[in-house]
């Protein structure tokens, strides 16, 4: 009779953990920010091209779609920044205990939400 061996975790059997959510969102936010560079290039090209081109960019970025993109970019930026800082700290070998990793991941979410709210609703540039 073969002894019972522990089975390796299967892709369908897992529990969501905040650390894993932070890891997945870090990459997703990074991809979103990389795509968002197109908006920054557009802004700079429009500024160099003149008032008409700038007006076109301005009209897009203040439209509902542009506003949602900019809001998402702000959230992605602060999440990626906070979690990136967390990774830099972990690169020094600190914060690897389960409790510390969960706590720092939670802190990153709080930081991202607070900074996004601060930028949009406290220092709102369209008021």
């Amino acid at each position: 009779m073969t002894p019972e061996k522990p089975l390796s975790p299967h892709i369908q059997i897992y529990r969501w953990e905040i650390t894993m959510l932070a890891s997945i969102l870090h990459r997703a936010a990074g991809i979103a920010l990389a795509a968002g560079t197109v908006l920054l290039v557009w802004l700079l090209l429009a500024l160099a091209s003149g008032p008409v081109a700038y007006e076109c960019f301005h009209k897009f970025i203040t439209s509902p779609v542009g506003t949602v993109l900019l809001l998402g970019w702000t959230g992605a930026l602060f999440f990626h920044m906070g979690n990136g800082f967390r990774h830099l700290v972990m690169d020094t070998g600190r914060g690897y205990s389960v409790v510390a990793a969960k706590r720092s991941a939670f802190a990153v979410f709080v930081f991202a939400v607070l900074m996004t709210l601060l930028v949009w609703f406290v220092a709102c540039p369209w008021q």
Partner: protein
Amino acid sequence: MSNSPQRILSPLARARGAGSAHHGAGHWLHQRITALANIPLMLWLVWSVVHMQDWNYAAVSLWLAQPINAILMILAVLSTFYHAALGAQVVVEDYIHHPGFKMVKLIGLRLFFIAAAVASVFSILKVAFAG
């Protein structure tokens, strides 16, 4: 670092610090250096956008024409775009498994970010020198 017969790297490859990925720790280190630079640069960019007097063409051009703003914007573009290119490269390496398609994606990404950086730096300089 033992001289056991099992070691895979040639002495030269080991001296260069290049592992199985052939580019050593360069990618890893560049990603961290640009990450550190990105933090103050992006905080500056968001702070500047929030504190912009007005969002019309004249005000934004005048702002970008200031030497300190033009310099910081060039640094921000170079650092974040390089960081984005390094990150996007890892994503492609992780998820695209077809060798030919992977190479096309990697080259395409690199060309895109080089073009984006050149277009951005040229635009910043044009606004800065015209203003």
